[in-house]
């Protein structure tokens, strides 16, 4: 057994660190209540399919890159080539495209294995 020489100790001066039962018990009880609340918690975040996301769905979306932010939604790229009609159609579609009426939503079907 590896031993490292240590300075002398004085057990008489040592802090006994009395542990009370109730703070830990109450904190654990609050933890249990919060966990149950979380499992049944319907968040204010919408899902892609409509309706609100459960908290478990929200957490799952974090882990599978399923969060969609409205400010992150980009317009489609312009058409390739020198076709002026296609270019004009793309510009018109972009003008007519309405801003999404949501700020953030959850794609419950997202399955990106590594969001980071």
């Amino acid at each position: 057994m590896q031993r490292v020489p240590q300075p002398p100790v004085n057990p008489a001066l040592r802090d006994l660190e009395r542990h009370d039962f109730w703070p830990g018990f109450i904190a654990a009880l609050i933890g249990i209540i919060l966990t149950f609340c979380g499992v049944r918690h319907l968040t204010a975040v919408d899902t892609v399919d409509g309706g609100n996301a459960w908290e478990t769905q929200l957490i799952k979306a974090f882990t599978f890159d399923g969060m969609q932010y409205a400010s992150k939604v980009t317009s489609p790229p312009p058409p390739r080539g020198d076709n002026p009609e296609a270019l004009e159609r793309w510009a018109r579609q972009n003008r007519e495209a309405e801003a999404p009426n949501w700020k953030v939503r959850v794609d419950t079907a997202a399955k990106t294995p590594c969001p980071t």
């Binding site: 300075p7 100790v9 802090d15 660190e17 542990h19 039962f21 499992v39 957490i59």
Partner: protein, 294 residues
Amino acid sequence: MECPVPDCKQRQPNELGRKLKRARPWVQTGFLGVWLAPVGQWLHGFPSCVFHCYSCPLSSFACPIGIAANYAALIPVTLEIPYLLLGVLLLVGAASGSLACGWACPFGFVQDLLGKIPIRKVALPAWVGYTRYAVLLGLVILLPLILGFKGIPYGDQVISICRLCPAGALEAGLPASAQSVMAGHGWPMSWLKTLILVAFVGSALFIHRPWCRIFCPLGGLLALFNRISLFHLRFNPKECVECNLCRSRCPMGVNVDQKVNVSGCIRCLECSTCGALEPCFAVPKESSKPALPK
């Protein structure tokens, strides 16, 4: 420094301490079966209580730190209270403090294994433990809160702590990169994350549990409960023969001869080998009840 106890070298660990020391690697291995479920990812909607990347192909639960950072990034858009995350951490912390760090955390287990390589370890001052709270406040809460989902503008990364996390590099980046190299597609992990991984492995050879001691925001959070948790360590002055075995056995450099239920402790219970420190449960009466038979 000479040890002041004359028969210091002859003193042997007590039976309970020996048993705990033998059992710990097996318990840690057993918990790998929980965190690395063979079916993988089936409980990703639920936070775990240990530091384990949810991008790992076999992770069964979600990383609590990744969840916290994502919730913080959500605040500029909509305020959501993470009931599940708070509940799990409060429950685990209040019940056992940082016991999960010492006995269940897969990333801690990796560091324990790396630490077994016989290289002289560097001692760290106790104050380095406070940087864990700076990481928690700065990288996990404030940075995503300020930058939102955009995160630090670096490649496709969105959450700052995940980008810098060595657990992500080891458990998710390394398998994916190895797979990519074997398929002939090159090394996809960013140079920054690769560098972090190399630095982490290197430091784990010279410092016992460097991530846990210096950076781990989850360990820092759970350790805050050490003072009130139901499971705790109790000092029995009648058993103390001033051999200081408890302190010399502590791999985390905690001055357990002065105070043991502190934030630097990971509850590995190595200090209980001396017999004067015993793992206990708090009971409604005045004294605690020993958690394990001697």
